[in-house]
Symmetry: D2
Subunit: 335 residues, 4 copies
């Protein structure tokens, strides 16, 4: 039985508590939040859980095996470092940290302490992303050539992180999960319509040596909600519309072949459109899969689907995007 | 009666002929195309029109008042220059020319010859774009803050121009028509999946001093066709979905106000979502409106909606995008 | 403080408990269900509520003011009669009873006992139905001429009631709420694809003396889920798509006027299509509104939106539909 | 070379002329229409065709092999009879005639004269209907259990025929083409909102001895256009949305099996939902396929896809629907 302490009971906290509550071999012992009204909310639904005002009471509780950190990004590093120092396994809400430096330090510490460090990139556990990964692994799409994602809506303007740090972790973690090649560089542009210089609309291109390209369109300022991703292969292509209730993934037997007309020295492209296939997806709640993965990987000393490597790569790209935006959209290398 | 000669009877040619055929005060005298099979096609539908193999026979026909050029982009400049030299009015398919230098030379020549030089940016004549312009002019949207366009499908890979030169002229002309501020700079990224180094996927950001931003997502490699544009204002926002048969324009009474909480020194954002309004649009064929505008402006010595200034601005942005893509996405100023 | 007992903790029970739990001036004292596993479920979420195996323990509890009956239809009459006899207010899940005779008897009993008898026609409390009612009351649609509803999906084949008794109560209650004229007659057709002679697909037409017509298409056998209603008026028309997350109601400024060409003795129809308007709807959970209405009407001795008259009219039409189906679709009068 | 005369150049006439014009082994010699402005329209597009004011000049032209009748329904019988008497092959716009009696007389006459009599049920030649027929023939759907069609929009109120005679021929011909079993009876209801007693909204149920059921919802009074058909089988089900540009047919691997729980004497239903498959359809214009079929069947003395039997069955059901509507929706047998 893994005993859990959860730090932060804000927007995402109730979902975490509910899912860990119904996860096997795991007990949610305590939840900490400085806001009394949040703890009152908790009490109504889960009276059996300890309610704490101070996160330190979780970090220092020798009876707790693992800590879940669901607080603002800028606090992730400090809380996680303390928890790891105290020998606890740590699950952190996405994104992992505010900087690559912090992420690397946490990873080193986790390795040293032989503790599990995991990031909650929930989307990796959806039936949709799992199915796309299967299609790619089975070479059903052929060689994958691009990923194009739009994640926009009238969103909460965050006071401390821009729209890329808020929304793009979902897409970048999916990118990292689906594509094994390492990104070479990124370009980012964006704009702020508030006085605090925090971008509310931003665009990110991720470049790869092979010619693969990824692009992310993120906005808090759209009148309509769109959650759409295209993944192109030279054999087939996938449309992933997360807002579709029952047809999230469509596989298009559509493609084009390239050949060179030697005589005319011209590049010719042969098009092909064919059937469309809408696979049935598993409908287990993604967060439940994530919670199980965390508990199982602690027990079996295994590597989770949402590994710290993916978490680190997400932070690398986000940190580079900050640089690129501030520097007129110039190309920033990812090492 | 304006007598017309049309050079080029390819994909778009039949539409031009059909629309000028039914335009008042205008006679389509001749069509030139080097391909016999295209002229045979023409003969079947419009037996009354002269069929010519050589464009020069139109350019040198003293009886012809105006020339329509619907040939590949790289031929626009030479054909248009000759026609203008011979004192003819000239309508050119988008984009105007292959370079800013050529465009400026044509414009100077047209001014000198007192001839009309116009570009066929057909979309400016649609009910949808006309309506958005009215909404902006009436300050219905408030201050306009962004334009975001996606124009993707499984498209014909052009052998001589990339996907931005092929698809973005539509969007950039709309941008120029809707937003009076001059763009400050652009960034572009893209990728080629063929051996001829011509981008089939590309992304373009247009930056403005005021904080307005425009972004264009263009692709020939999408399994689905999308023609969608968002125009955000601080009072209302517009969704323009060109594939909707009857609801192309939706006006969202949605917005956010910014204020600063002086005590906490924080920026606060007040959200508002309200009704949606779907205005009825005129359904006149856009190309017919364009043809009328060309003929009327010749007769009245007036400036068309799709002026050469818009045509020039489109070429400026496209030329800059070439530079930016080749130079790692760096910011290129627009002067 | 109204003390409640809820009989039946099946599919709908948890929603009832949750909503009454957060309704003011009301206490959910006991829940009865013969199935132990259902009571165990209840205990996990609401440990404070009494769990009873026998409904009689609620009906005979002198401390309980009001009883909510959420059991199979054929048990409604008997349970409700006993509860009313014991002086309790009664809320019954739709449909009210299995027959008009039973419904009338309950209504008479409630009147005699001065108790509130109410049916849970939840849809009447949705923002969508409330808005349509407002539009009709304000004569925005003009004279209402038809209602056409499709409610189909791959649904649970009920073992005791057919698809009309299962799905149509929603639509018929909306019809009764929106249209004041009394129906004149109905026709129904249907088919069973199982061996128990219970229709899984059925069609119902409701005829009115004025020329108003209503039609209901109900199916448990559709591969797609559709929840769509059209309400036509001679000034405007409404499309109500309950599956739309944010645009449930669209008001079309569309209509036609009739005139007679006296000379030609012909009927002419003038068409008109105009703007579309998507009003913002309140998003309070409908069941919460229903629960409040029940409690408030008990306290204030008032008539609820979802009155027993609507409940009775629903049963009248359903009972007539049984007759019509069994008798080859013939017209059955509604008195 | 089959020489054709076309009677009637109204709404559908230009489509017929255009398609027969490009059909092999066929020459459109003459078109007759009493309205001069229609013949002027014809002259602009097809100057080579004879323009006649009087249909008799086609019927009596010994040089003409086949006559296409595209006039109002009430004139079909008289014109077709004369043409058949004169030994000509006849193609009639749907529906075949105004009554079963007339249809039977024409069929007898065609048999006697050894002439082809065919009805233009264009939809039978669409890629969508052809594909559904293939799926049924290959038993992909299993045993077919129902067909449910909605064909509504803000349509032209016809002055001489009601909405079923106007719109349902499409659906009833598809029904006849897909389902080999003969219908047993029908029920129809409807309403008129004009003073000429011609129904503008009507509903039709077609009953079969096997338990198969078909239902048609037709309206000229809908603010939205819907062209949707469901075809259910016990193995798979098809959604046919004719307004979808590229995904007209979706095949759902969805179904339910029935079994009887012998112990509990209950009927149980096992549900299954699986993948969805969107087959690519041929995109040849349906009317072109119809025209080819007519010409080929004349030349080869063969039976067309859109045979007179289907045409007769359509009229049988329409005539019965008139009776049913006038008689309070009662069941009318189809013999």
């Amino acid at each position: 039985m893994i005993k859990l302490g959860i730090i932060g009971y804000g927007y995402w906290g109730p979902n975490l508590v509910r899912n860990f509550f119904s996860t096997k071999d795991c007990l949610v012992k305590s939840v900490a939040d400085a806001r009394l009204e949040r703890l009152d909310q908790l009490a109504k639904i889960f009276p059996s859980i300890n309610r704490l005002k101070d996160a330190q009471d979780i970090i220092n509780d020798a009876d707790i095996d693992a800590v879940v950190i669901a607080t603002p990004v800028f606090t992730h590093f400090s809380l996680a470092r303390q928890a790891l120092m105290n020998g606890k396994h740590v699950l952190i809400e996405k994104p992992l940290t505010s900087s690559v430096k912090e992420a690397v330090e946490l990873i080193d510490l986790a390795e040293k302490k032989d503790a599990l460090l995991m990031v909650d990139h929930t989307f990796l556990y959806t039936g949709a992303v799992q199915k796309i990964r299967q299609l790619i692994d089975a070479y059903e799409l052929g060689s994958v050539t691009y990923l194009d994602s739009t994640r926009i809506n009238l969103g909460l303007f965050q006071p401390d992180i821009n729209v890329l740090w808020d929304l793009a972790p979902h897409d970048i973690s999916i990118l990292n999960y689906l594509v094994k090649e390492k990104p070479y560089s990124i370009n980012a542009t964006g704009v702020t319509h508030t006085k605090n210089n925090i971008e509310n609309i931003a665009y990110l291109t991720v470049n790869y040596k092979s010619g693969f390209i990824a692009h992310f369109n993120c906005s808090w300022s759209s009148p309509v909600k769109i959650r759409m991703m295209l993944i192109g292969g030279d054999k087939k292509m996938v449309l992933y519309n997360d807002l579709e209730p029952t047809e999230k993934i469509k596989v298009y037997d559509t493609g084009y072949d390239h050949k060179t007309d030697e005589e005319k020295k011209k590049v010719l492209v042969d098009y092909r459109t064919g059937d469309i296939y809408v696979p049935k997806l598993h409908t287990t709640e993604a967060l439940s899969g994530m919670a199980c993965d965390f508990i199982n990987c602690i027990k079996q000393n295994a590597t989770p689907v949402s590994s710290y490597e993916i978490g680190l790569n997400v932070v690398k790209i986000l940190e580079a995007s900050d640089k690129s935006i501030k520097d007129g959209g110039r190309e920033v290398l990812i090492n």
